[in-house]
Symmetry: C4
Subunit: 275 residues, 4 copies
Amino acid sequence: MTLQPNNQPTTGWRNVLHEIIFEADTPAGKLFDVVLICSIILSVAVVLLDSVAGIRVRYGAILYAAEWFFTILFTIEYILRLISVHRPLRYATSFFGVVDLLAILPTYISLFIPGSQYLLTIRVLRLLRIFRVFKLATYLSEAQLIVTALRASRRKISVFLFAVLTIVIIIGSLMYVVEGGENGFVSIPTSIYWAIVTLTTVGYGDISPQTAVGKALASMVMIIGYAIIAVPTGIVTVELSQATRHMITTQACPACGLQGHDRDAQYCKHCGAHL
Amino acid sequence: MTLQPNNQPTTGWRNVLHEIIFEADTPAGKLFDVVLICSIILSVAVVLLDSVAGIRVRYGAILYAAEWFFTILFTIEYILRLISVHRPLRYATSFFGVVDLLAILPTYISLFIPGSQYLLTIRVLRLLRIFRVFKLATYLSEAQLIVTALRASRRKISVFLFAVLTIVIIIGSLMYVVEGGENGFVSIPTSIYWAIVTLTTVGYGDISPQTAVGKALASMVMIIGYAIIAVPTGIVTVELSQATRHMITTQACPACGLQGHDRDAQYCKHCGAHL
Amino acid sequence: MTLQPNNQPTTGWRNVLHEIIFEADTPAGKLFDVVLICSIILSVAVVLLDSVAGIRVRYGAILYAAEWFFTILFTIEYILRLISVHRPLRYATSFFGVVDLLAILPTYISLFIPGSQYLLTIRVLRLLRIFRVFKLATYLSEAQLIVTALRASRRKISVFLFAVLTIVIIIGSLMYVVEGGENGFVSIPTSIYWAIVTLTTVGYGDISPQTAVGKALASMVMIIGYAIIAVPTGIVTVELSQATRHMITTQACPACGLQGHDRDAQYCKHCGAHL
Amino acid sequence: MTLQPNNQPTTGWRNVLHEIIFEADTPAGKLFDVVLICSIILSVAVVLLDSVAGIRVRYGAILYAAEWFFTILFTIEYILRLISVHRPLRYATSFFGVVDLLAILPTYISLFIPGSQYLLTIRVLRLLRIFRVFKLATYLSEAQLIVTALRASRRKISVFLFAVLTIVIIIGSLMYVVEGGENGFVSIPTSIYWAIVTLTTVGYGDISPQTAVGKALASMVMIIGYAIIAVPTGIVTVELSQATRHMITTQACPACGLQGHDRDAQYCKHCGAHL
């Protein structure tokens, strides 16, 4: 077997298998993907229904069978994927390879640790393939834009999260000292949990300050949380704006060389030359 | 009857009817619209009041009569609309046609399924006509801007919602396994509901984590939810910014008449003519 | 008395009074304003303390006396303001004139309707004078910027609020039909209240859905609320951005006439001419 | 000892000490910093664990010993820092100097006021040194950007907070009059606390309106809070956008060396030289 680009094996039947399983260009390949996506959705639905006590009591046996049916199906599929690719290890360690494995493991583990089968819902991650199958290229490029913006702002977001973490630890300790265990702030970790609940404006109300000083402190935390949400929003907005502008305007005018044209421009807006 | 543009029938009385019901240029047409809007507001108020137990006990009979009065009124209006337009089917399948029908159906259905009359509040959608009647053209163009921005960002928003859905399913399952039924996480769908309540920072507190691991996981979900609100905000801000800039520069090219030039453009980007 | 600009009377003592009360340029005028601001803060503190049961029981008499003291003080001040201005009616109907009156009325009304004195806290609005007194011109211009942006986006915000109102009415009715009175959704107005609590991500949890369909609907409302907060944010950001840019760049180059220079620019960035 | 820049003493051993403690360039200095950071994290973990009742009962003695161990360690370090710098007072009054002192005081104070040792968590602030130690210069410059944007918007944010404070005081009083003590609004300060909880969309639900008028008012507050979050977000976004644009164009003028030119600038805006 010679080394080839595109990860494709040369042997005939493995080539065909690869085309069906990994590509969505042939009718067989497309059919395979559609069946796969339906199976994933069904299998996740089975897990969800199985967790509802009322339904489990009635249809437990059927759901249990369905769970094993899908798991065996996905196990066969996983093995076929391993066989059909040129470099099995590379696939097995890729994002989808790991997800495909994690999507079958919980059922086997549940034989030893009951309850772990509920983690099968990680199968929804396999649905990300949906974009490739249905040629949702535009969606992919839009998603790419968001990812680019988030990646560009990862350092600013890290700094922001570090600041938030520092704030909630200090405020959590203060509230623990001020309110004390009898008002629900039973420990500093619990107080930090309360500080996060408050700063992010979630506000369950399972723990809430009772003393006047505690309420004053809590009010400050709320206003801080209300105001600093502006920071990640501003960061992502600026980066998204940059990423969008970049996507629009990477075309230079052949006459004057200036960029910054709209996507629908046919003539340079600076010198009037045809683009 | 010959085919005519603008959906207007040629027959005299239907022409007049059309003018009164669909246009707001003549005094009669304007009067009709004002009466209609008042009727809609009154009829919605009747439904709202009827749902309050204390008021229903006292004024039930009057409210019931008023409900039927408005329904019959709107039924007659709907029939007149169908008669007066040139292409009844086109109207019936248009947005306002469907709304007009949905605004009368619940009363009739309530004869068979009691309680469905409360869905009459869908009549508020008929109030959207208010913009046309009072010539609120500026408001309409502003609304148009928002709609344009939202439409331009619909793909990015879809990708975002898909990501959110994936996150809440996986986190919901994790929390179900970690917390279990005795702490309120009685099933995965319920846990997913909790994950949505938390991620969107609504935080009812009807279900909240009790174990240390659960609280740690919940803290992570809150911080994720607090941070990723930046994504839709950034998307819409960028698109609104683009749409606004576009609207500002609606200077038309003297040669080809096309609009959408940047403020600093000196040549038409469509035909190359000097602006 | 002749008509004069600047609302100033010609008579000597009224002139002096006007200078002291309305201006903050003379030492006497500044002293008056500082005393006034302290009095306002103290009088609001008195109202706040008086509302706390424990404190009222102990110091009720003193607080009651203080309340009347400040009210009589502000009443005298209000009368002096009326006397010292050239056009009393214009002052009385201006924003500050109305606030000054509302800041003394509740005490007198409380003689007939007990409890209304707590509305005296409206006196905090009088503190807005603080910006003028301490020459916080920069703050005023920044505030102006925000007001400009909000005014420019008032139509878009109105459209947005109209849409939100429509959504909460329809969703409130749906939830009333789905959940019914036994789960806390006792009437459509109450359900609308719940919808607002949910859509704005406040989430008190005093009413929360109990049925599966209700929870699914609520999840949708939450995600809608989580996503559409992007709309007002986007609107205000774009307008603020426009307003800021305007403030920065209203200076044209004398040589080439182009604008868009930074505030700290000394030379035109297009032609190099001195600005 | 002669006055020298950079705060460095000339004496040999103090010079070496300074290099180890304050710099991270030499292996010894780096080792010192890594040990320091680990100690800080461990000591904070000790405080957190000590606050959990279950753990304190079991391992109280060990944790108490660890607390004193770290405090004495940090006290020695603090004294060494004071000795090794050229101007001890300048260090002692600097941000890190104050934090270093606050990070040891609570343990000593806890001898007189039990419970104050939980404030030791302020030690997390010492972790800010982490950026310098690991040469996270990029993170620092990103953090700088955020700080610049926040500083530039401090006046607008102040005006916004002043407006929010005015709103919550007036709405708090209104709700106190409308709802009264029997519904949880026991005093105006408590009502103001409720108003902050609602306006910031935290929504604990420990206090929530019960009357129809109160619910209507609360709905208004929620919608206001939901809409005006746009203001700080807009402010910070615009300032971040400005700061980012500035940072991008740090191209220095060849003639005067000044930076801050726009990307499309052809001439220096400070001296007029061609870029």
